[in-house]
Symmetry: C2
Subunit: 353 residues, 2 copies
């Protein structure tokens, strides 16, 4: 999608053999700054500090991390250590694990002096595949929006989303947002309810910014307000992303997804999860098996934003010594999910929806 009208990806190589470029998402929407990642350590830090985040994007950035690692030390022990470091950055999203393990497996078949170059080709291919996959998700989701738009006599289809399963969470298009971007391009009117997504406010900071840059109508809400909107009948459809999906269709996604799914079910509003099939983890049956990342309590106690004077600043909203718990994901049981929108099509999940 676009920044000030110019098409961008969220991760790219500056030039073949060059640094990996990403947009520092911790500064959005207040500043657009590109970070050049030149070595494995830069990639590890970018993922840990959430300069890049979103399951598909961290998968691709980690793949580029393997490229940078191979440029520094293409030996088998070197790559094995790098893969281990990358895998341990964030435990919940399965894409990162797949990407790194897949590349390591391939690299071991190649001569060490070919590894950096061939990994670069592979990582680039994964980035391109993510874009194509999201575009396909968009095509399938667009059909849902088209149908609802006809039912609503051409009035905007009102879509609730959570967190950022957008362009910034992927290489391009996003997962939950891909149908919205395509709808906008093809003249199907949509309005997006954006829940702010505490504690890190990816909805308030990233999804609003993306939608604004593309000119898509949207309204920000506190996470707490989602149930009220659904009760009022102001939501036609929910679209969220996923970090890991189990065999029985339970979905790990950003903390708070489960509460929205409960409210959608209570209101009889369809709840769709948009995710590439690579998010499916066939090793797991039930959602309780998904490892849930716990992040720093300071993400709950402190909030980042911009002051009236334009300085990016953090403020504490609680007493200084208040203990806080910060689980980063929750699991929405399959019974609350209408369907999965994948690149291969829409798969129904809940039996009775």
């Amino acid at each position: 999608v676009r920044i000030r009208g110019i098409p961008h990806r969220s991760v790219w190589l500056e030039h073949p053999g060059g640094p990996v470029c990403v947009i520092d998402q911790t500064l959005l929407p207040h500043r657009v700054e590109v970070r050049r990642l030149r070595q494995l350590d830069d990639v590890l830090r970018a993922i840990l500090e959430m300069q890049v985040r979103g399951a598909p994007l961290i998968g691709v950035v980690a793949a580029f991390g393997m490229v940078l690692a191979a440029r520094e030390d293409p030996s088998t022990p070197g790559l094995e250590t790098a893969a281990q470091q990358l895998r341990s950055t964030r435990p919940t999203a399965v894409n990162l694990e797949w990407a790194v393990s897949g590349l390591l497996h391939s690299a071991l078949d190649w001569a060490p002096d070919e590894r950096a170059f061939r990994l670069e080709t592979e990582a680039q291919r994964m980035a391109d595949a993510d874009v194509e996959s999201n575009r396909a998700i968009g095509r399938h989701g667009l059909e849902l929006l088209r149908t609802l738009s006809l039912q609503r006599g051409g009035a905007p289809v009102r879509v609730l989303t959570h967190c950022n399963a957008g362009w910034l969470a992927t290489v391009d298009w996003g997962t939950a947002t891909a149908p919205l971007y395509l709808a906008h391009q093809e003249g199907v009117p949509v309005h997006v309810w954006v829940s702010e997504t505490r504690p890190r406010n990816q909805g308030a900071a990233l999804t609003t910014w993306e939608l604004g840059e593309e000119g898509i109508s949207h309204t920000l809400l506190a996470d707490n307000a989602a149930g009220y909107l659904l009760q009022q009948g102001w939501v036609d459809l929910c679209f969220v992303g996923a970090d890991r999906i189990t065999r029985q269709g339970d979905v790990a996604n950003k903390i708070g997804t489960y509460l929205k799914a409960l409210a959608a079910a209570d209101a009889g509003v369809p709840f769709y999860v948009a995710a590439p099939t690579s998010t499916l983890d066939r090793r797991l049956s039930a959602g309780a098996e998904v490892p849930i990342e716990r992040r720093s309590p300071d993400e709950v106690r402190w909030v980042s934003g911009v002051t009236r004077e334009g300085h990016v600043e953090s403020i504490r909203i609680s007493p200084p010594s208040t203990p806080a718990l910060n689980p980063a994901f929750d699991v929405t049981p399959a019974r609350l999910i209408t369907g999965l929108i994948t690149e291969e099509g829409i798969v129904p999940v809940a039996q009775d929806s």
Copy 2:
């Protein structure tokens, strides 16, 4: 309850005939500042800007507002105008409406030159009655905690609460917190999960502070995390307050209460509403009839807190022009509520709980 060990109420007269004193809750927990309200306009501003908030407290502060109005102009048209101004500050909590209309009705029976003095006596009586009512709520709620504590073999009873239905939302004790304060005094161990309560963070700023001053074990969470905790089996009981309760038992309370009630029902965890019987509005049957206040979108876009240097500061978390919607309350249907804890006892609500 106490501030640095010293017992305090949240509203009091400095001396008979003197100004009305309140703690400016917009500065908590960062600074404890007392505001002296000397005329009706000060009271209107304190309620509108939420220096005081919480259904029972704004009822009592509005009652003192009638006292200040009568000192300025005790004529019948003067008091009628004052009552109208007070009633229109905040529409959802019914206590404010009762308090103001009740005092106006009484005052009209008195000679104008007696009104200020007699209203002061009445307002003081309402403040004292609030304290007694909350203590009684505490006694009834304590029995629930005692029973659970025995069932848990003396392990702390884990209570989830939302917003601040605490000491600061009332004159003293709080509604949802009264059982917790009594339990603490009587040696029944409790642990409180405090949801931060965006957009105004009354949980993060006020409930944590109150509980900390009383030495009660607690943990702060993002609102989004409540469902996860309930799913994990880490919550034994939910206690929330109420702004208005309808005849059929639907409860209007701080936005986000409904989402917590859905998750509690899904996990089979009892969900109690603690409120004085004055919160019941017998004129209304269904929750859909409760007027829901909409506040400024800036409360969603901007967050207040304290910087590392100790300055109270506001920061913007979204792009500057992002539209935002800010409903301040939602309605939890009776079917999700286990019971009401009132000063008169515990009233079961949901049929099948």
